[in-house]
């Protein structure tokens, strides 16, 4: 993985030093809150409902054992002993004190971490496929691209005050696990017909109050042209993006209002102008630097192992708990004898994405002992060990079990994405975490969850959609109605390469009515499906919304007649 060089280290430490001075001036009274707020946001520090919140960047969701251990130490010393992993592969600390934040940032810098550009109208932390470098279906590891973009976008003076925040995601696989079509720019590494590696460039995706599926801007962009092309997109957005209305300021609105053809024309013209500038495009990176970055993501030295792992297979046959976990939480690795292990942070009753400091240390230990010192954070708020030997899985599973980390529900109904909602977030209109907890508890029986099969429930506590509800198989949006929490349900959303925005089912439900409503949907699906191989989403696509709406709103429920 990428290691800071002297430049990176000096840059981050200088930034912390400056912020330390800004915090001191705020506390002394030399800075007003109006002056201080944009400064703290640029350093990842929000004020939430009950306390400050520090959002720490985990670029492309990759970190090593020492970094995870440092996060644990920070959680214990300056927070309340836990952290919350987010849908943008970051971690949030929910209880820092203002005066402590510079010390927290110093500790992060010790391990090559920071909170820069995790907030504000700038290019945010670049995200990537959490199976990068390990997935069997991968064309190329997307992380060198993501790292190149991180270096280019960090403190980029031209793009520090964009009309609105700007999010980029990269995947190296045809099967999109990075939700690239919901980003301002989504990049998919692909090969041209001639076998050359480059990118499909997708723009104008986004969730929030106006969900849009990204559209293809360029079906193939040569790899070397990435930065001037992305810079051209940013310039067009910076020039034409609306600054009169923050709700209309995202790139998706520009694409929607002016049309992809017009935006393409503008971007291509700006790109051509850059490429023909005297002396060449100013952001074309030195190939040696690109090579240097790529070298940090060289795959680990894998052992030459047989496809089958005898010890593991014996243990798997003998231990039904291990077998259930392996069936749901393991994914195919590119290297024979290895697996990708998803460690669920969705134990029934726990807040999705929360991990205690003790659990973080276990994850760090596991990465170092069994996983080539690599961990990933997924946008689904789980942790991934991307490179583990199948032979080691019984030991790994045993350790996970002892620390409440062996929940066998990846991709099942209990694997719920939930934003912090009104339990923490100042923008929320309703709670989301306890809704997720209630659903997970209700469907906690692993056999029932297995029977239901693949299911993506995603919950947002407000229209900003941090919980990705628009692309949940079942999406839940918490709003306020007549002074009470009210939850709208959407159906048929899909977060993959076939991204689909879910359809709103009808009137919302009170807090206590959500679990029964989900149960009715599941019961209907189990009756309607053509077999266990037909997932909820497949059944929904075959049958349409009508039978599911009928289940949600039974005719004898007069109170809910729309």
């Amino acid at each position: 993985m990428y290691r800071y060089d002297e430049f990176d280290d000096a840059f981050v430490r200088d930034r912390v030093s400056r912020f330390r001075g800004q915090v001191a001036r705020r506390i002394e009274g030399a800075l007003t809150e109006e002056e201080f707020k944009p400064l703290r946001l640029q350093n990842g520090l929000y004020l939430q409902l009950h306390a400050y919140m520090l959002r720490v960047a985990i670029p492309y969701g990759t970190l090593n054992g020492a970094q995870m251990r440092q996060l644990a130490a920070i959680a214990e010393r300056w927070d309340r002993g836990y952290g919350h992993f987010t849908t943008r592969q970051n971690i949030q600390f929910n209880w820092p004190k203002l005066g402590d934040v510079p010390d927290m940032l110093d500790r992060l810098a010790e391990e090559g971490m920071h909170a820069i550009q995790t907030s504000g109208n700038c290019i945010r932390n670049v995200t990537a496929d959490h199976f990068a470098g390990a997935a069997a279906d991968e064309v190329e590891d997307p992380r060198p691209t993501a790292e190149l973009l991180r270096q280019w976008s960090t403190d980029h003076p031209e793009f520090a005050f964009l009309p609105r925040k700007f999010k980029i995601a990269v995947t190296g696989s045809p099967n999109d696990r990075a939700v690239i079509k919901s980003h301002d720019i989504g990049l998919r590494v692909r090969r041209s017909d001639a076998g050359e590696i480059g990118y499909e460039v997708i723009i104008g995706g986004g969730l929030g109050r106006t969900p849009m599926v990204g559209q293809v801007l360029r079906s193939f962009l040569p790899k070397a042209d990435l930065l001037p092309y992305v810079e051209a997109i940013l310039r067009v957005f910076n020039l034409h993006g609306r600054r009169d209305n923050k709700y209309k300021a995202r790139l998706k609105i520009l694409v929607h209002e002016t049309g992809i053809e017009n935006v393409r024309g503008e971007v291509e013209a700006e790109f051509a102008r850059q490429m023909t500038t005297v002396g060449g495009p100013k952001v074309l990176p030195d190939p040696a630097e690109v090579e240097r970055i790529a070298s940090y993501f060289a795959p680990p030295v894998f052992e030459d192992l047989p496809e089958g792992a005898k010890r593991y297979e014996i243990a798997r046959r003998a231990d039904s708990v291990l077998r259930a976990w392996a069936d749901t939480n393991l994914s195919e690795h590119r290297q024979p004898g290895y697996a990708i292990a998803t460690i669920s942070l969705k134990r029934p009753g726990e807040a999705p994405g929360d991990a205690s400091a003790a659990q973080m240390r276990v994850l760090a230990d596991l990465a170092e002992a069994y996983g080539h010192d690599e961990l990933r954070i997924s946008h689904e708020q789980n942790v991934v060990l991307p490179h583990v030997r199948r032979e080691d899985l019984p030991e790994i599973h045993g350790i996970l079990k002892r620390h409440g980390l062996a929940t066998a529900n990846a991709g099942l109904i209990g694997d719920i994405i939930a934003c912090p909602g009104m339990d923490y977030c100042a923008l929320a209109t309703a709670r989301s975490i306890p809704v997720a907890q209630n659903i997970a508890r209700h469907f906690a029986d692993p056999k029932y969850a297995q029977t239901i099969g693949e299911m993506r429930i995603k919950i947002s506590g407000c229209i900003n959609a941090c919980g990705h509800h628009h692309v949940g198989t079942i999406g839940i949006l918490g709003l306020e109605k007549a002074g009470r929490e009210n939850y709208q349900i959407t159906l048929g959303g899909d977060h993959t390469e076939a991204m689909t925005i879910g359809q709103r089912a009808g009137p919302g439900f009170d807090y206590d009515e959500v679990v029964p409503a989900i149960e009715r949907l599941i019961e209907a699906y189990l009756v309607l499906r053509e077999g266990a191989e037909e997932t909820f989403l497949m059944a929904f696509r075959r049958l349409g919304a009508a039978p599911f709406k009928a289940a949600l709103y039974p005719a004898d429920d007069k109170s809910r007649a729309a």
């Binding site: 705020r26 809150e33 004020l47 409902l49 009950h50 306390a51 203002l98 339990d423 975490i433 306890p434």
Partner: protein, 103 residues
């Protein structure tokens, strides 16, 4: 019986971000029971003026409350009740643990 215009002032503490309330002496308290209650619009204006302490708190604003039988102001809106109680998802984060009163 609840008065329709009963209001208190809440904000977040500058140093630790804690939810705080303005008391009758112009100081900030973490206990909603000690919050000064305005019964009239003039009294609410006076509270607003007293809350202008940008070196102590961030974003003071008026919230609607009703007094319970013990005379303690209870926010009308669930958002403000959650602010007062702390996150509802972990018992160890419940702010009411720090207090000794019955709502």
């Amino acid at each position: 019986m609840a008065h329709a215009k009963q209001k208190i002032i809440s904000a977040n503490d500058l140093l630790d971000g804690d939810v705080v309330y303005l008391d009758g002496n112009g100081n900030w308290t973490r206990l909603i029971r000690d919050a000064a209650v305005a019964e009239t619009s003039d009294a609410a204006d006076a509270l607003n003026a007293a809350a202008n302490q940008p070196q102590k708190v961030i974003g003071p604003y008026l919230i609607d409350v009703a007094l319970n039988a013990a005379g303690i102001p209870i926010p009308n809106h669930y958002r403000e009740r959650i602010r007062d109680h702390g996150p509802t998802v972990r018992a160890d984060l419940d702010r009411r643990r720090e207090r000794i009163f019955e709502a």
